[in-house]
Symmetry: C2
Subunit: 457 residues, 2 copies
């Protein structure tokens, strides 16, 4: 039998646990550009909206019912609900809800959704310990950097062999962020990373079940507890990440250590974070974007005789469901994406509800979409021509959909997405105030006001 | 780059998650021989003694200090202390202490220490929910069967690539045992196993740090929480163990499914559990046993001119430290093992204390040991000849050391070990009563009396 780790064991890895601990403990507060600091606010805001939006989901109900069996102290808030639980459980539940709609942020290079594990741990700990918004933003930038750099080093082998990389690297990101918040020294920060290294969370087989969003939640919880344990003197290997029998070589055959050490403290992975404008797989996004642009040009569904869609073959392979029966199926239907884009100019979680997916006008409009495979068109692009009833044609070509790194969502778009997710939970006026609190987080003395605004009255 | 899981992905695995869930939920109470039921009591007793013995260790102090930051409810007891915490945290801490001395049970085929994850979760849940001793023994047999069968299927590849197999399979064992205790149906039991499958704990690089005993503790906690979440409707993949991107194929290239399905419900892995008589690596045990037999023959250290030890080369490679400076180093010294066996007739945790290791008579006796490599002697054996000052020789050959499967510790030996671990914590008289409670566990209505006896007055 092949003994792979013996074949590939790397005994000469740089001391990345120690190197990361040094960075986490010592990098100056706001030791990055204004653009990076603003991106951290965007990441936080997008994460918070997703968590509030899914706060009433049955996954949150089930997790909270289990947590209630532990009779937790009321230390930190479940976003979008009136419930408080102990800070570790709050990290768990907010991590779950932030990923439940698959609508959270994406570090495209690794497919990591970094805010789920990191922000969920950070906010719970910061609320209980009354830490400042500056501390939170610092911890968020640093924790996400740790998770994504470890992900860069192991991707794609680690992901290919079955790990849900968000949860497996997220534990480290959450531990790093919480160690920073607790102001642990380099030695104890290394211990926090070490304890976390023994707790990677999540396999891809869980996709489509509640355990998928459990992964960022479980990672948030494990990372937070790792930092608390390290703060109290619990020990781990100082080479827990890089040793031959350490975490990284155990869960990945590819480990490019330079991805961790290169430009550490100069290049920040949060800069490469992206946000989904549409609540479905990214391969449909260019087609939705194109149809939303048609609507913006004044085209209405009633005017349309036929929608000619030209896309890469992968789009139809993955999302070729022509007659989706419900919201879940509609997430795999580029036809519904087009209908939603033209009708509403958007495709948020609401547009994938059973109610809207089964509406007669939506069924009719989906049937007007004629999709053609054209592999000369990139997977990230879409070509749409509306043939109107008066015989005229309107053409839109989208090279990079909105939400891509090349064409990021504007702050206003993130706010609109946030409203779409949260207004039903908190009311529009309160969400307006909550958005202000998010943008001002880096200057706030604590998160009491923000938490209050994220709680239904 | 090699994409190993793509090469080896097995799309035709039997539905082992479902098969195990059926077994866990439906196997009759006490559906095994009296010998198996007695072995479960031995496993429980040995685990409890280890947990009480290490209850004052700094690893427990550090973990409990972190848990205190969550202001836990008082639901379940930390064994050997007056502390109560929520049941999930009790499972964590008792799992840590039971493995802290490396003195707990061993399923020799896989090197899994099965009681740590399983019994720690079971007792915490059973105490809080006032479940019967019969339920506890049933859950212990079944949970250990699940962990060890999954271990059998993946061993040795899984271990070789870096996983501490106790924590990576222990989560499943704890989840199975707690699902059984909660009387979950087959469907929810499969969900509990599924949630647990996303949380394997522990890499071997952590050996020598507090995070090693954290592994069974973390597994106990994660397994217990997985069962609680499943009981409240949280979902996971029903193929979470066996799918190509499920847990087992993600963490091991070897997966012999027949190890899970073969004789399930007829052969019980707890039958193959063993208990350490000596608080050190198993490779020293035959030498200690031989020297303890010399003492039993009436030989004293003062009579001895020289101790001639013949052992397999591996023994000296792993434990050849001739002049250990402290207790930790002594655990890697076959010389200290021989000195301890001849002087005390035993080598429990106390005989590896700094105080005893540095005693002048121990230093002198270690220097009388002359070790010779003889690879014709099995690793599991030892040949010792005492050359006495009067010129006579006494020879002992140990083929299988006490504590091996071929030569198991008797119940009386387990009791003596328990006293050695616990008398300092609970007092001898209370330990006598506690032992009676352990042997009678299967017939007890609840664990209140047992827990009281495991708590210092």
């Amino acid at each position: 039998m092949a003994r792979n780790t013996q074949v590939t064991a790397d005994h000469n890895a740089p001391l990345v646990t120690q190197i990361l601990a040094q960075f986490v403990a010592k990098h100056p507060s706001r030791g990055w550009s204004d653009a990076v600091d603003h991106e951290a606010h965007r990441t936080f805001l997008n994460w918070l909206g997703c968590a509030v939006g899914a706060s009433g989901h049955e996954a949150a109900d089930a997790a909270l019912a289990a947590i209630a069996m532990l009779q937790p102290a009321q230390q930190a808030s479940v976003l979008g609900r009136k419930t408080q639980v102990d800070m570790a459980s709050a990290a768990l539940v907010n991590g779950i809800t932030s990923h439940t709609f698959d609508f959270d942020d994406t570090h495209l290079k690794t497919i990591i959704h970094p805010a789920g594990p990191v922000a969920s741990a950070v906010l719970a700990l910061a609320q209980h310990q009354k830490l400042s918004g500056r501390d939170i933003i610092d911890a968020l930038v640093i924790g996400i950097d740790v998770a994504c750099r470890v992900g860069n080093a192991m991707y794609p082998d680690h992901y290919d062999r079955g790990w849900h990389i968000t949860g497996s690297t997220g534990t480290l990101g959450a531990a790093a962020a919480c160690a920073r918040l607790l102001k642990l020294d380099v030695q104890k920060t290394a211990m926090a990373l070490g304890i976390a290294a023994s707790q990677p969370v999540g396999m891809r087989e869980q996709f489509g079940t509640m355990t998928k969003p459990f992964h960022p939640g479980g990672a948030a919880r494990a990372g937070l507890m790792s930092a608390l344990m390290a703060s109290q003197g619990f020990t781990a290997s100082p080479k827990a990440l890089e040793a031959p029998r350490g975490m990284m070589q155990t869960v990945s055959l590819k480990n490019d250590w330079s991805e961790i050490t290169g430009e550490l403290g100069q290049r920040f992975e949060i800069s490469f974070n992206s946000y989904k404008p549409f609540a479905c797989g990214i391969v449909i996004h260019p087609s939705i974007d194109a149809c939303a642009q048609l609507k913006a040009k004044g085209i209405t569904p009633e005017q349309v005789e036929r929608l000619e869609l030209r896309v890469h073959s992968l789009v139809l392979e993955l999302t070729g469901k022509k007659e989706p029966a419900d919201g879940l199926q509609a997430k795999f239907s580029v036809y519904h994406g087009c209908a939603s884009g033209l009708t509403f100019g958007r495709a948020a979680e609401e547009e994938f509800s059973d109610h809207i997916v089964t509406r007669e006008d939506m069924v009719a409009l989906r049937r007007k979409v004629v999709a053609t495979v054209d592999d000369s068109i990139d997977e990230a692009s879409a070509d749409v021509t509306a043939i109107l009833k008066d015989g005229s044609k309107v053409h839109v070509f989208v090279e990079h959909a909105i939400g891509s790194l090349q064409n990021p969502m504007t702050d206003a778009m993130l706010e609109a997405k946030f409203h779409g997710l949260s207004d039903n939970v908190l009311g529009k006026a309160q969400v307006d105030e909550l958005l202000k609190a998010c943008w001002g987080l880096g200057n706030s003395a604590n998160v009491d006001a923000l938490i209050k605004l994220a709680t239904p009255v």
